[in-house]
Amino acid sequence: MLGFQRNKRVGIWTEGPHRLVAHGILDDDIYGLEVRMVVDPATREVRSVEGWWNRWTTPDCPLAAERLQDAVGVTIDDEDLARRLQRTVGRRGCRHFANILIECCHSAREAIDLLRYEKARESAPGLTFRGFLDPSRPPESAGGAAEAARPPAATEASGPHRTAALRPEDLTGPFIDLHVHTSPASPCSSAPVDDLIREAVRIGLDGICLTDHNHLWSPEDVEALKQKHGFLVLRGNEIITDQGDVVVFGLERDVRGIARLEDLREEVVRAGGFMIAAHPFRGFLTFGVDKLGLTPEKAMERKIFQYVDGVEILNGKVNAEENRFAGEVAGGLGRVLTGGSDAHEVEEVGQYATRLASPVRNEQDLIEALKTGRTAPVAFRREVSDARAEA
């Protein structure tokens, strides 16, 4: 005989192009509660939440419903979503409300994928769902699907003159994670460099670039790491500029504070280095493309793109939409396309990487390989490491 049963149900529908509504019910032997949540499919942000109890336990449980407002503004793609909601709605309100909200957020994410898939099939009727999800699909075809979730204002502009990205299998060079942070060099990272390298070796990367924030590793220290691990470790630097973060290779100066982009460019050119706009659209969907009126064409006019050689179109700290948008902009500008995990934790290294066309033994080789423009950003862990493990 059953001793306990919990049922959770989530139903999702659309109310116009800007509102995705999720209705969640949690009903078990102890608790009965419901939530109704509105998500903006363009920003993927929770716009409003309301909830109510049907059955509860303590006399003060009803106080918990007001803490549901802590979920407003959360992005459903947030990797840390569950923990965030448990800490806020759960800890300050009620963990059962948090539980059904998490279920609603995950469901909303899947619903948006399905809506975009339906839209993509309008132009490609034979497209399978797995094919639609394949990140190696060229950005131009993915772009059409992404637009399904955007407000019309953002999709009216005609497409830029896009350059198709190379696929990793088109190239034979190494897979290198061009963007990682270590602790304590980057205060925001909790990844000790030795652990990070060991993880990179384990998942099969061919090399990593240490790109700590405004911190330049000494050649001796990096050489020692290479020797110790028998693994390619390269030096770079993620520099904060007045126009956004830029990953730089080939600059032998420890830049402190915020650099002026033009000055940095001048210095990097003199040094024969290479500059990549890092996560250029990080967080831009927070404001909503519709509100910003940002189209790929308009974004291409941003100053930063005039001063960099490459654009990071796969970055582990932004959502899929933001990466896709970066891909459209970089493709339209004909910039070199790169991918990097932006790892701040050991287990994040290699989430994204870049495959190059020629062997790389040192920073100079890397810069030359990047300058050829023959690069293929790749979701390394999912597409390469896991596939190798399965094979």
Binding site: P59, D60, R92
Partner: protein, 172 residues
């Protein structure tokens, strides 16, 4: 355009707990949504509340991510249900485990087991609101970790009135 208000996505998840023998609990979680159908069942030994068996089954997976290496789910065997279990289970099953949904379903089973016992405890709560309040206050005093764990047990609620916060827990 599809008809407004037609469901574009739906998900059903059921978790149930039963006691097949005096020394065993069995918890099962079943999921069905537009993209996936899966089942997880765990067996739990009493009185230690340790997981003695785990089984996972994918019946449908439109994304195709839950394939291969699912036996790592069995690494959760031996975990004791209680505080910190989610982190331990994730750690043992491995961050690279191809199907996060199945891991989540193991956690749901474990939460089901806790709620199974909670339900039993709640049978003893008096109907009268004042007496119920006193009952829960006693519960917090007995297990001070419950203090500030939710809105009802937070400083300022009628239940925590007169209860000293545990050291290190600053009321906000």
């Amino acid at each position: 355009m599809p008809m407004p208000h037609l469901l574009r996505y739906s998900r059903n998840r059921t978790t149930s707990v039963e006691q097949p023998t005096p020394g065993t609990l069995r918890a099962a979680c079943r999921l069905q949504d537009n993209l996936m159908e899966a089942e997880v069942e765990i067996t739990v030994g009493l009185p230690d509340l340790d997981i003695t068996a785990v089984e996972g089954r994918i019946l449908r997976d439109e994304r195709g991510v839950c394939r291969g290496g699912l036996e790592a789910l069995e690494n959760a065997v031996g975990v004791r249900i209680g505080p910190g279990m989610a982190k331990i289970i994730k750690g043992l099953v491995g961050e690279d485990f191809p199907c996060r949904q199945l891991v989540f379903m193991v956690e749901e089973c474990c939460h089901g087991v806790i709620l199974y016992f909670t339900k039993d405890e709640l049978q003893a709560v008096p109907d009268d609101p004042d007496e119920a309040r006193e009952h829960f206050a006693r519960l917090i005093r007995k297990n001070i970790r419950l203090y500030n764990r939710c809105a009802a047990f937070a400083p300022g609620s009628s239940i925590t009135e007169g209860i000293e916060p545990p050291s290190g827990d600053t009321p906000s």
